[in-house]
């Protein structure tokens, strides 16, 4: 059988080739997961690898459209387009070594150099070494422990009569979070976070739903990817803490509608039809015994997939609302759970207005050349010294930066607009120069292009428009808001002033409380795990919630256009 030799960050491995499979599929099966947003259709250009030796099929039209002739000549290919039949060697790191760190345009006195010069060989704008998901690149170590400060506060009372352990699961489109609890003492034993392996089938929920609709086989693969991921996280914690998973008596799961439907394997096809987008989709699994067996939990374990609200608004939003106690007092409150499909809840004292708005994955770093999720290695904060113009940055974990996450991108946009370098309409002042910002930090060299900024503008506009629309529907002025809760990994690091400056968050009164919810969907799920009457808690929240469908809302469109501009939200709109 022909052999594929993979060099991944200097480590060599051999994998036997199954003729007919693409390089991307082969690598995936061997647990080398390349980045992708298109699910292997050859159009996102993110699965680049460097062929070091061996013969393969000639570059396809998709590849010639996306890879420069120079790079093609060098052996750069799209892994999803290569179908090797003979021995072949590849390197997952596409940039040549000497490209790193050598830069004639570094301005030493500035941390970040602004350079609008087009540099052809850097056209790709992908961060060095960031082509492979670091946390998914080996069979071990998919899962990272959640740090103490990553948990959102949660109120629980111990359940002395419950089975020993319980698990809470939040399935996000990008990341999965799982925690395990000692039910009797009410203590969290451990928590894990890892990438949702369904990303292999596409970054956004629709690409995944469409892939699942293609064939029952695909649907099964997608279902199993998430199920196995949860199982691995449980295993990982059980091993680390010497737990017997058979003593897990309850697993409570929250997520957006698409994730829950794909997990249960039921009704996901319905979500492709807009007629169903105001209905509640039944996401309860009909094969609970199989789930118990796969996860190795008690044979009598209760596996509770908390049902979504309506349309694409899932139970993760309910969990957010529960964790933040959003609707428990008279104080009006706005909650935004940022994601590819952001979810928004507005409590006006009587009603919770909820909506979902698909701005795309830009704030999670998706589709942005230098972007990455808010994970170790991400630049999460950027500040500019007004006097010297110098930039300062902070990286999650403190190490060498690998990319920039959403909050860092928001900071950069705000800095550039303040300094006049970027205009409100998203154009660089010097538009004639090709419009790209080169960011040089230490040895890392990144570019932010006008296309990247356009994607951020759209994502921002979708969130801002839905927020404004709900505020208008409730007849509420932003100054009247008493609380603003920003949830999701992105919300955790967000600089609120900068977010307001570019119009991502509404301008609020000075004494309004801004709460960074972080992983609040997991916290809400944990609260549900300990609720003595889960159904009653859910009913009381869901009973107050009304879903507003932005797809059929005619005002949304005007608001979206107005919100494309990078400026504070206007009021009244």
């Amino acid at each position: 059988m022909p052999v594929l030799r993979v060099n991944q960050a200097g480590v060599e491995r051999s994998i036997s080739l199954t003729p007919g499979l693409s390089l991307r599929e082969t690598l995936h099966r061997a647990n080398v997961h390349l980045r992708s947003t298109c699910g292997g259709a050859g159009v996102c250009g993110r699965c680049r690898v460097l062929i070091t030796y061996g013969r393969t099929n000639a570059p396809t039209a998709r590849e010639t459209a996306r890879i420069s002739p120079d790079d093609l000549a060098r052996g750069v290919r799209l892994a999803c387009q290569v179908r090797p039949e003979h021995d072949i060697g590849i390197n997952t790191q596409v940039r040549p070594e000497h490209d790193i760190g050598i830069n004639t345009q570094v301005r030493p006195e500035h941390d970040i150099g602004i350079n609008t010069q087009v540099r052809p060989e850097h056209d790709i704008g992908i961060t060095v070494q960031a082509d492979v998901y670091p946390s998914l690149s080996g069979p071990a170590g998919h899962w990272r422990s959640l740090a103490d400060d990553e948990y959102a506060p949660v109120d629980i009372s111990p359940m002395p009569d419950a089975p020993p352990y319980g698990a809470a699961v939040d399935i996000g489109s990008t990341q999965i979070r799982v925690s395990i609890w000692d039910m009797r003492s009410g203590r969290r034993i451990a928590g894990r976070i890892g990438l949702n392996p369904q990303s292999y089938f596409g970054a956004d929920i629709l690409t995944r739903l469409a892939a699942a609709a293609e064939s029952p086989d695909n649907a099964r693969l997608i279902r199993m990817a998430a199920r196995e991921a949860v199982g691995e996280a449980l295993q990982d914690m059980a091993q680390a803490h010497g737990l017997n998973l058979r003593e897990v008596g309850q697993v409570v799961i929250v997520g957006n509608t698409a994730m829950l439907a794909l997990l249960s394997g039921r009704n996901h096809g319905l979500l492709l039809n807009p007629d169903n987008w105001e209905r509640t989709i039944d996401c309860s699994p009909d094969d609970t015994p199989a789930l118990r067996e796969l996860w190795g939990v008690a044979e009598s374990a209760i596996i509770d997939i908390v049902q979504p609200v309506a349309g694409f608004v899932g139970s993760d939003l309910l969990a957010d609302i529960i964790a933040t106690k959003l609707a428990e007092g008279p104080d009006s409150a706005l909650l935004i759970d940022f994601g590819t499909n952001s979810e928004i809840a507005l409590w006006d004292g009587r009603e919770i207005l909820v909506a979902s708005t698909a701005g795309g994955p830009a704030f999670e770093g998706g589709g942005i050349g230098c972007g990455m999720p808010a994970e170790p290695g991400a630049i999460f904060r950027v500040e500019q010294d007004e006097a010297s113009g110098a930039f300062h940055h902070e990286t999650i974990g403190g190490g060498e930066p690998e990319g920039i996450c959403g909050s860092g991108l928001v900071d950069i946009l705000a800095c550039l607009i303040r300094s006049g370098e970027l205009r409100e309409n998203g154009k660089f002042l010097h538009h004639h120069a090709g419009g790209r910002l080169q960011i040089v930090i230490g040895r890392t060299d990144m570019v932010l292009t006008t296309q990247d900024i356009d994607a951020l503008q759209r994502a921002k506009a979708a969130i801002a428009a839905a927020t404004t629309r709900l505020m208008k529907l409730a007849g509420m002025h932003p100054e009247k808001l008493r609380r603003v809760c920003v949830c999701g990994a992105f919300g955790r690091y967000l600089d609120v002033r900068n977010a307001q400056f570019i119009g991502l968050l509404p301008g609020i009164a000075d004494d309004t409380r801004v709460e960074h919810g972080g992983n609040s969907a997991l916290a809400g799920c944990e609260a549900l795990l300990f609720a003595s009457d889960r159904a009653a808690v859910l009913r009381s929240v869901a009973g107050k919630a009304n879903h507003y469908n932005m797809s059929t809302d005619t005002d949304f469109e005007e608001l979206f256009i107005d919100s494309l501009f990078l400026r504070p939200m206007r009021w009244p709109m």
């Binding site: 629709l206 492709l272 807009p274 256009i561």
Partner: protein
């Protein structure tokens, strides 16, 4: 004087400043520039200028596209009412979003551009079934059907362009009616329009105007 109007208008449009653009036009009309000159010598060349700058640098963003098209449509509509005789229309297109797709913005931008290029447009709205595209095109004697789709499954799906093509073929209308598609999935995958049986696609509303004018000519020939 027309030179100054053109420069001032172009700058306002490039800056996505609607108010300023409209003011430039109104001042010009007040100073005696004819509505015909406003449309043919200011607005249309500005759109063409935008095409050029886009094709050179891939650099105009959504806010700009939108503003260009809306300002152009607004000015054209206002000026047309004041034309001494109705201008000759280039042709007719029916346009809507594919079945299952409610993303209406792309279509709106395209419509704005087409209007100012003297192409008659019938807006079929969103979530349009394939039969309706064909029936309306026939009823209105349109040369082109425009289908907008922002999501992968509506762009590729059976009930979008693929079915419209099938219906045209079945009814023997393929010589009389051309199909153009547009939307994010087609910009992403430049070959996709062929896969789903369209005659053309365009990356933005401004280019769309030019391509559609070409398709109309092809049919009329």
């Amino acid at each position: 004087m027309l030179e100054d109007v053109i420069t001032a208008y172009n700058e306002a449009v490039f800056d996505t400043d609607r108010e300023r653009a409209l003011k430039v036009i109104h001042d010009a009309v007040d100073r005696g520039v004819s509505p015909e000159d406003v449309v043919f010598k200011v607005v249309i060349p500005a759109i063409e200028q935008m095409i050029k700058s886009i094709s050179e640098s891939f650099d105009a963003n959504l806010a700009q596209h939108f503003m260009t098209s809306q300002i152009a449509a607004e000015v054209t509509e206002e000026m047309l009412a004041r034309f001494r005789k109705a201008p000759e229309v280039v042709g007719h297109i029916v346009i809507g979003t594919a079945q299952g797709d409610l993303h209406s913005l792309g279509k709106r931008i395209v419509i704005g551009c087409l209007k100012s290029l003297m192409i008659d447009v019938t807006d079929l709205g969103v979530n349009v079934p394939p039969e309706k595209f064909v029936d309306e095109a026939v009823a209105r004697n349109a040369q082109v059907i425009g289908i907008s789709a922002m999501m992968v499954h509506t762009a590729r799906g059976e009930n979008g362009c693929i079915m419209v093509r099938e219906l045209l073929r079945k009814r023997g209308l393929e010589d009389r009616i051309k199909i153009i598609v547009g939307g994010a999935p087609y910009r992403y995958d430049l070959e996709l329009y062929k896969t789903v049986g369209a005659d053309a696609s365009a990356d933005d509303g401004i280019t769309a105007g030019r391509v559609i004018a070409g398709l109309i000519k092809e049919v009329r020939r």
